[in-house]
Symmetry: C2
């Protein structure tokens, strides 16, 4: 059975995966890009944006698990675009003509629209569906490979709560955001369903991995 995976999902010490005040020029609100600086420093990221260099240590080892074996992604409407994108029929997502997914991507929205084929192998499909229904479609599209849940935090919580996630990689960044959308809400006793490991790295972040028990 293909796995359902979450990678490089970054949160603050107080558990916020995005700040307050999300907008087109501030996709993570007042958090800015502070939750992702650890990743921008890695070779994984440098290669993704086409440049040389980048660290090749522990942060990079975790970051590089993002792509291999993934056949489809599921994301929430809030990741696809800023509030109100549904009112723009020509909107094509926050990543330009060649998005970094290179697989089918299923966008959960209450206002579906026709699929959009982009450059580089990404096709956006739009679904008004439960997590289980969306996963069924994504699994078919993934053709035996794994499905990545791309976020944001509400979508991650929904899939975890539904018991659909096999492994989750969370990166805790040493900042206190104070406001935004929390990852942990509603996940009481998560440790009963997952084996949890923590490892801090020299960049100052702590990688938390959750591996579903009994699978």
């Amino acid at each position: 059975m293909s796995q359902v995976r979450i990678h490089n999902f970054s949160i603050s010490l107080d558990g916020f995966a995005t700040g307050e005040g999300q907008a087109a020029d501030a996709p993570f609100g007042h958090a800015g890009e502070r939750l992702h600086e650890w990743m921008f420093a890695t070779r994984f990221w440098h290669e993704m944006v086409g440049g040389p260099g980048g660290s090749a240590g522990a942060d990079n080892a975790f970051a590089e698990r993002y792509g291999p074996g993934i056949g489809a992604e599921i994301m929430g409407a809030g990741k696809f675009g800023p509030p109100g994108w549904q009112d723009d029929p020509g909107y094509q997502g926050a990543w330009g003509p060649n998005p970094p997914f290179h697989t089918p991507v299923f966008v959960l929205t209450h206002r579906p629209r026709p699929s959009m084929r982009m450059e580089g192998g990404t096709t956006f499909h739009f679904l008004d569906a439960t997590p289980g229904e969306a996963l069924e479609q994504a699994r078919k599209a993934a053709d035996g490979q794994d499905v990545r849940i791309g976020g944001g935090p509400t979508v991650v919580r929904d899939f975890v709560t539904a018991g659909l996630v096999d492994c989750m990689h969370v990166v805790q960044v040493p900042i206190v955001l104070g406001r935004g959308v929390r990852l942990w809400d509603g996940l009481e006793s998560l440790e009963e369903s997952y084996d949890i490991e923590a490892v801090s790295t020299p960049s100052g972040v702590t990688h938390l991995t959750f591996t579903a028990k009994n699978r």
Copy 2:
């Protein structure tokens, strides 16, 4: 100048330092003792309760910083006893005749009572005071040594927000409590005032140390 320190302050992944439903037989509410199992395994703890054994690794190294150099503690009413202890004039705290503090301890309460001298060097004083006022009294009693802020989370937050804490040691335990009292509320941008280090240990916890900048 003597330092103001916080040690072995344990929280869940979602930032709760105590659970919901605190009572005489459940000082941490539904959290039980799960936030402190890492500490019970250390030599520090074994020695405190008078037994042999215990781990002598990284968790123990952090735990042992609790006592040395401390001349007084400040704690909140919620740590001193269960809800309603103020109505019992004979109540002597949650630790029996020989409490583990061995210094003057200042209990913050809106209903002060006469001081109580216990066995082993602990004297409880009761203050209705602001953090700054309480610290001034504790510093005098500490006679040049450091002052420990003993918790609970509300008191820790109040002292950190008032800019009075020099170093804080937080231990993040891999459980999700879901409800209770959070450490992080109201501490947005804490990283601007503190250098933060994180280190995970083989027991599965992550030690976070906060060292005040520019002191």
